[in-house]
């Protein structure tokens, strides 16, 4: 999605140091310190996670850490909320994974 380079009311963004990182093995770019979810959205990536049980695609929902929908895996940090976790250079990020077993014991169709 498009970045707002110059906001008519709020001016310029505070994130200005370009960096690279990988998501699901693919090299992408973003800005140091911006939330991972925002960097991925700017790259057009909406699917942040596979539902642990059904494997259905999930993206961010609340963007401020309340809903836990945007969790994904950052190497060295484990499972994090991507809306609250600042992007760092060279981060190795993987979408949240579907689990091999049924976690609730409910039979999947």
């Amino acid at each position: 999605m498009e970045r707002i380079q110059h906001h008519p009311i709020l001016g310029k963004t505070k994130f200005h140091q370009p960096i690279t990182y990988t998501f699901n093995g693919k090299k992408l770019s973003g800005y140091r310190g911006e939330p991972i979810a925002a960097a991925l959205l700017a790259e057009g990536i909406r699917v942040l996670r596979r539902h642990e049980e059904s494997g259905a695609a999930r993206g961010f929902y609340c963007a401020i850490g309340h809903c836990m929908e945007c969790r994904l895996v950052v190497q060295g940090q484990g499972i994090v909320r991507s809306c609250l976790t600042p992007l760092e250079p060279g981060m190795i990020i993987t979408e949240g994974q579907q689990l091999a077993n049924e976690i609730t014991g409910r039979k999947l169709p």
Binding site: M1, E2, R3, I4, Q5, H7, P8, I9, L10, T13, F15, G33, E34, P35, A38, L41, A42, R46, V47, L48, H51, A56, A57, R58, G59, F60, Y61, C62, A63, I64, G65, H66, C67, C83, L84, P86
Partner: protein
């Protein structure tokens, strides 16, 4: 951070308008203050808020910057990116469990703000569906547009205010529509109820129907009439079509939002046969309203009361911002959903009460508390954005309950 933990006079949870205002006042009274917030930067939801007020822009980010600068001058410690997951009172001090270890203080102020009420719609788990606040944060805090063209579902104060912000930020919106009727949406799906709510907002509205009509409509109970005759295509508010006679039926797409199925509804919110069509959008913002984010008060043992006018369940508190748990205080939207300006004045009031209880103010403390209480009342009366009708009355009900129970030792 050591495992022994860090001791201070006051821990404030939440670095938004209430928390920062309280921190600065408490530091002015000579208290050592630590503010914790799990967002990466301080300012709370003010960071993304702005609105036009009699010809000039009220910009929350500027106010946040001023509060943060003052905190720096006063030696307030602000720790961001830190989550609080527990609270326990041991003897005369609280142990606050955080993601960087335990913090200790004899007094804690909860200024955790509000969260959005989820509003389920068929297809709402698709990536690209987000809460209206998420669209605000992406555009105004992270400077990334939430999508190319979006639709807002839910017509309320929050939706209107953020729709305006998104439009100023250059985010394209197909319109604002109703949620589908059903037990989950309740009155939010009914055109008449929405119109009555919007009339409380009419001073913000550029549309002549809402602006000029509101007072007459209210006195003559015309909301039902307008809901019946509301233009099918909606009316435009700030270039955004406000569609009071259209409801979202489902959100569609393969692994991402591709369209929303919309339908015409009658004045009661019932779908008209054969009126469905598909609107192509790549994001949907659901606006279900706000509720006080109060789990920590519950963990700390504070009793709750249910006050729908203020957003639902909230910790019982006095007008001076004390809770029945000694040493625990509340300020801002955790006490009920209102504007940032009210939250700031509540923060200063809570700090005054804390200053008195900690013997930090000396003589004249009662006068400072009384003045701070008056200031909250004045700010509330002058508030441009009223999230619900009847806020002042609901507040008086809470304070009366406090006086009749906690104050007399029931």
């Amino acid at each position: 951070m050591t495992s022994k933990g860090e001791e201070t006079d006051l821990i404030i949870v939440g670095a938004g308008p209430a928390g920062l205002s309280a921190a600065n006042k408490a530091a002015e009274y000579g208290l050592r203050v630590t503010v914790i917030d799990e967002f990466p930067e301080p300012g709370g939801r003010m960071l993304g808020q702005f609105h036009e007020e009699s010809g000039h822009w009220w910009v929350g980010k500027q106010i946040a910057d001023e509060l943060i600068a003052e905190a720096g001058r006063r030696g307030v410690r602000i720790r961001c990116g830190v989550s609080v997951y527990g609270m326990l009172k041991v003897d005369d001090r609280f142990e606050v469990s955080t993601s960087i270890g335990a913090l200790f203080a004899p007094r804690v102020l909860l200024a955790t703000g509000a969260a959005e009420i989820p509003m389920p719609v068929q297809g709402w788990t698709l990536p690209g569906v987000m809460s209206i606040g998420a669209a605000q944060v992406m555009a105004n805090v992270n400077f990334v547009k939430p999508g190319r063209r979006g639709l807002i579902v839910g017509i309320n104060v929050l939706a209107m205010a953020i729709a305006r912000e998104l439009s100023v930020s250059g985010v394209s919106l197909a319109g604002i529509v109703l949620p589908p009727a059903g037990p989950l949406a309740g009155a939010a799906a009914k055109p008449k109820d929405n119109l009555e709510l919007l009339m409380g907002l009419s001073h913000l509205a550029p549309s002549p129907i809402l602006r000029m009509g509101s007072r007459i409509a209210r006195s003559c109970n015309l909301a039902g009439w307008i809901a019946n005759f509301f233009p099918r295509k909606g009316i435009r508010m700030w270039d955004i079509p406000l569609q009071l006679r259209t409801a979202a039926v489902s959100i569609n797409g393969n692994e991402r939002v591709e369209s929303v199925t919309l339908a015409q509804v009658d004045a009661k919110g019932e779908i008209l046969d054969g009126s469905q069509w598909e609107e192509p959008v790549d994001f949907v913002a659901l606006a279900g309203g706000l509720y006080p984010l109060a789990e920590l008060a519950s963990v700390a043992g504070c009793p709750f009361i249910y006050t729908p006018e203020l957003g639902g369940h909230l910790p019982l508190h006095s007008e001076q911002m004390r809770t029945p748990v000694e040493g625990l205080y509340v300020a801002g939207n955790i006490t009920g959903v209102e504007s940032a300006l009210v939250a700031m004045s509540q923060g200063r009031l809570a700090a005054a009460s804390i200053g008195v209880d900690a013997d930090a103010i000396g003589s004249g403390g009662d006068r400072i508390v009384a003045e701070a209480m008056e200031e909250v009342g004045r700010t509330r009366a002058a508030a441009l954005i009223q999230f619900q009708p009847g806020i002042a009355e609901a507040r008086r009900g809470i304070y009366r309950l406090w006086q009749e129970t906690i104050e007399v030792g029931v």
